[in-house]
């Protein structure tokens, strides 16, 4: 029998990490999961929404700019407004920024290259539904695969993110030098942030591709376990 919570994985034309997320949720977490097609404004009773990586609508105009207007996104916004959990990974992070569900934006990597490799990210806040199963300060090895992952926001927003502990993941290096570990030029070495309500997360690294040691790292799994436990605790 499947465990709760029930997950929904969004699917846009051009999504390409939807199957990875589905696999982790179904086969590793053993939770209920549905694909949610972009054109259908129906979350199928999902408790947790995953906005996966890829190149939604070809990433034309700007990454995530078109996906933001998909019929399913209106429901995702309502879900988040109700306090429901939403996790945007890579292109999902870009979409959530375009939808103004998270502040700031993601622009072209400072070296103009598409970067596909493992990076080190430090868990900056473990007091969230996304990271409770990590210890604060844990350095996770996670893959990135993006051309537009450079996080930017104005100084006021950056200060607000920092002071309210909403920077959830920060790039770092094996010698704990954050600037050295920053692959894409992100301001404040930001790899992932959450919204004010702490129920919407956006991150460029791919935890769903790091849930099995055979794939080089299982450091993404605590994020998914955190979501399960957060939802079960909330449901009691």
């Amino acid at each position: 029998m499947s465990r709760t919570p029930r997950f929904g994985v969004l699917r846009f034309p051009g999504s390409n990490c939807d199957q990875d997320a589905y696999h982790v949720i179904k086969d590793i977490l053993n939770c209920d999961v549905n694909y949610l097609w972009h054109a259908e404004p129906d979350l199928k009773g999902s408790d947790v929404i995953v906005v996966p990586g890829g190149f939604s609508y070809g990433d034309y105009l700007r990454c995530g700019a078109v996906a933001r207007f998909a019929p399913v996104m209106e429901e995702v916004r309502k879900h988040a407004d109700r306090g429901g959990i939403v996790v945007g990974i890579c292109n999902g992070f870009q979409i959530l920024c375009e939808a103004h569900m998270l502040p700031g934006a993601l622009v072209r990597n400072s070296n103009c290259k598409f970067i596909c490799r493992h990076v080190k990210v430090r868990v900056e806040n473990s007091n969230t539904p996304f990271t409770a199963q990590y210890s604060k300060g844990f350095v996770a090895k996670l893959p990135i695969a993006h051309g537009e992952g450079c996080y930017v926001a104005d100084e006021e927003i950056l200060a607000e993110l920092e002071s309210s502990q909403r920077v959830i993941f920060r790039y770092t290096s094996s010698s704990n030098n954050d600037d050295d570990g920053n692959p894409n030029g992100s301001l404040n070495n930001i790899a992932g942030i959450c919204n004010e309500g702490r129920n919407v997360l956006g991150m460029m690294p791919h935890p769903e591709r790091a849930c099995n040691p055979l794939l080089g790292s299982a450091d993404g799994l605590p994020l998914f376990n955190s979501l399960v436990l957060a939802k079960q605790a909330a449901g009691r």
Partner: protein
């Protein structure tokens, strides 16, 4: 038909990584006098005849969709 050209550029406060690469390329070709390069996007719109408040409508399109005002500026040019 009414033609409108929209120019979308990264805000000056942001590093334009593409512009920097092109600047380096121009320097490599010997154009040492190029001090900076910024790269943007041009969106050409053809609107049906009789569209009223063209400027206003296109500004709304820019605000809602054509530009991300967190990172970009836009310029609207009504061509005829």
């Amino acid at each position: 038909m009414q033609r409108v050209k929209v120019l979308v550029t990264l805000k000056p406060s942001l590093l334009d990584a593409q512009g920097k690469v092109v600047q380096d390329g121009l320097h490599a070709l010997g154009y040492d006098n190029v001090e900076s390069v910024r790269i943007g996007k041009v969106v050409e719109l053809n609107l049906t005849d009789g569209t009223v408040n063209v400027q206003e409508q296109v500004r709304e399109m820019c605000q809602r969709f054509l530009a991300n005002t967190v990172i970009e500026n836009y310029d609207i040019e009504v061509l005829n």
